[in-house]
């Protein structure tokens, strides 16, 4: 057999190459977007309404629309997701039903985003007659990020040491009292991390909002949840593919704003997770 040390050197080289093939382009992409998008970013770009089919003006309504949608999504997904996580962590027994619930969560996480768009269309827009609206879009996004919230919250709850629960119960507290006073408060950083990651995901998705809420150009900001809204991801899609002759820097600028928003949220989530790990008292 040939020299195994040499084989190892060659193999490790290729492994490193593979890793760099992934990581380096990420860095390049971010650098390019910043470089080409930064010139477009100014106060006017961020706060002005679009003009001339987006060849001039700003992206303010898209930013506002994204904020509305994301807020609506989390308003729906957080309570349900958190309680579902409490169920799985504190009440569920090791039986068939629990296995099915976990399978359902895995499946919700795996459904293609465009299928969520179809679902949102069929249920909220058509069946409930909400029409293409912030309500339809937010609810669709909410169901989509539910698995993220549930999984992160569950991990946070399960990381609270079992002994705390036993001590609380042995002092005469009820199960719910134990959860509310001991388990939940100590799981908050993890829950917060999951929530912010869910927000980031909801902010960046296009397909679920294509048929449920998004409009390319609205003359005014949405007045109610039954109105349509603009949104950053959809806006980027349209000015990249449907509208000719948009200045390159506006496209990059929009991409930069969306990217910055999403990455910023992820960064906050990571910081929370990191500081919590350091600060853990037990």
């Amino acid at each position: 057999m040939r020299n195994p040390q040499r084989t190892e050197k060659i193999a490790f080289f290729f492994l490193l190459l593979a890793t760099l093939l992934i990581v380096v382009p990420v860095g390049l992409i971010i650098v390019v977007i910043i470089q080409k998008g930064a010139p477009a970013i100014n106060w006017q770009f961020l706060t002005d309404m679009p003009r001339q089919g987006m060849r001039a003006g700003g992206i303010f309504p898209a930013i506002v629309g994204t904020i509305y949608l994301v807020s609506g999504a989390i308003l729906f997904a957080l309570p349900i997701g958190l309680l579902a996580a409490v169920y799985l962590s504190e009440y569920a027994k090791d039986n068939f039903l629990t296995r099915i619930i976990k399978l359902a969560i895995v499946n919700l996480a795996g459904v293609p985003s465009v299928v969520y768009g179809l679902f949102g269309l069929a249920l909220f827009v058509v069946f409930f007659k909400f029409g293409a609206s912030i309500l339809s879009g937010a609810l669709t996004l909410g169901i989509m990020i539910l698995p993220i919230i549930i999984t992160a919250s569950r991990e946070a709850l399960e990381s609270v040491p079992y002994s705390f629960r036993e001590v609380s119960l042995s002092l005469g507290a009820s199960k719910w009292q134990t959860i509310r006073n001991i388990v939940l408060p100590n799981a908050i950083p993890g829950i917060l991390t999951g929530t912010i990651l869910g927000l980031g995901r909801a902010a960046g998705e296009t397909a679920p909002i294509l048929f449920t809420v998004a409009a390319f150009y609205l003359p005014q900001l949405p007045q109610s949840i039954f109105n349509q809204a603009m949104a950053l991801p959809y806006h980027l899609y349209v000015i990249s593919t449907q509208v000719p002759n948009v200045d390159e820097k506006i496209r990059y600028g929009t991409a930069l704003v969306l990217l910055a928003l999403v990455l910023f949220m992820n960064l906050i989530a990571i910081i929370i997770r990191y500081r919590f790990r350091k600060k853990k008292k037990w």
Partner: protein, 287 residues
């Protein structure tokens, strides 16, 4: 009084626990509701195997074989690229990389996972597509190959992180035994760790492919829009996902076209369901 309040809260918790099952069923139900109406008009066989997709012609031809094949070509291409690179990167990060570098690399990959697909589609459009066009001297760079490359890229975080988990949780004793017998680190990785973590790695690959099949925006922006049966990877194709996204805007609610798009949705849902259940089985088999 407290007892009553607690009783209600605990029932609410149970309800939310069941919510995920409820939503999966609801999605399936509504897809069926709209999609099955199609099969009153044409048979499932003609739908799945018909090779012409002209939804707006009179009469409409609604065969999704070109779309299925479009998805298949792009997915297979993405798999061929992403599996060796993804598993290789996972091996590097899990077994070879020094600790500090490991954290940086993991952060880089998490970063990639966070980038919205529309942003990647945009970048692909302005960099990858022209590059493919010049490299292969094609009339357009909007091809299945461009899609495969970008999708392979997007599948990486899934593949790398789950495969890395699998390698991390495989028992260290196997590796240590091999090293104690004089094997090099590479031999221990290749002959011992990899097989030991194989079901987890398989699951990682499946979930990565599942992600690829379900991807919409990036695909829509860089694979072109030709709903014809692909004969080579260097031509424009149309995937199942892109079809729904591109055409739903024009389809009238309640029309044949509308039902057909939902029927495509059923196909996609079924595929992702199958992949997720199987991958989950592999992940649990390990334990």
């Amino acid at each position: 009084m407290r007892k009553v309040k607690e009783f209600i809260i605990e029932k609410l918790i149970l309800l939310c626990g069941l919510a995920s099952i409820f939503f999966v069923l609801l999605i399936f139900l509504f897809l069926l509701k709209e999609g099955l109406s199609l099969f009153k008009i044409i048979s499932p066989f003609k739908f799945l195997l018909g090779d012409k997709w002209y939804p707006i012609s009179e009469p409409a031809r609604l065969g999704i074989l070109p779309l299925i094949l479009g998805s298949v070509v792009v997915t297979v291409g993405a798999a061929v690229i992403s599996i060796p690179i993804g598993v290789g990167a996972a091996l590097y990060i899990a077994e070879v990389a020094p600790l500090k570098l490991k954290e940086v690399l993991k952060a880089g990959i998490e970063l990639l996972a966070a980038i919205p697909s529309v942003v990647l589609g945009f970048i692909g459009m302005v960099t990858l597509v022209p590059w493919v066009k010049t490299l292969f001297k094609l009339p357009t760079g909007l091809t299945a190959l461009s899609g495969s490359i970008m999708l392979a890229f997007m599948a990486m975080p899934t593949i790398v992180s789950i495969a890395e988990d699998a390698l991390y949780s495989a028992p260290k004793t196997y590796k240590e035994g091999a090293l104690a017998l004089g094997a090099t680190r590479w031999q221990a990785i290749w002959r011992v760790m990899l097989p030991a973590a194989s079901s987890g790695i398989l699951a990682a690959v499946m979930l990565g492919i599942g992600r690829v099949i379900g991807e919409t925006m990036a695909v829509m922006m860089i694979t072109g829009n030709a709903a014809v049966i692909p004969t080579s990877i260097l031509q424009p194709v149309r995937t199942l996902t892109a079809t729904i996204a591109a055409e739903m805007g024009e389809a009238v609610v309640g029309s044949e076209h509308y039902f057909a798009l939902f029927a495509i949705g059923i196909v996609l849902f079924a595929i992702s369901f199958a992949i997720n259940v199987t991958a989950d089985m592999f992940l649990h088999k390990r334990r």
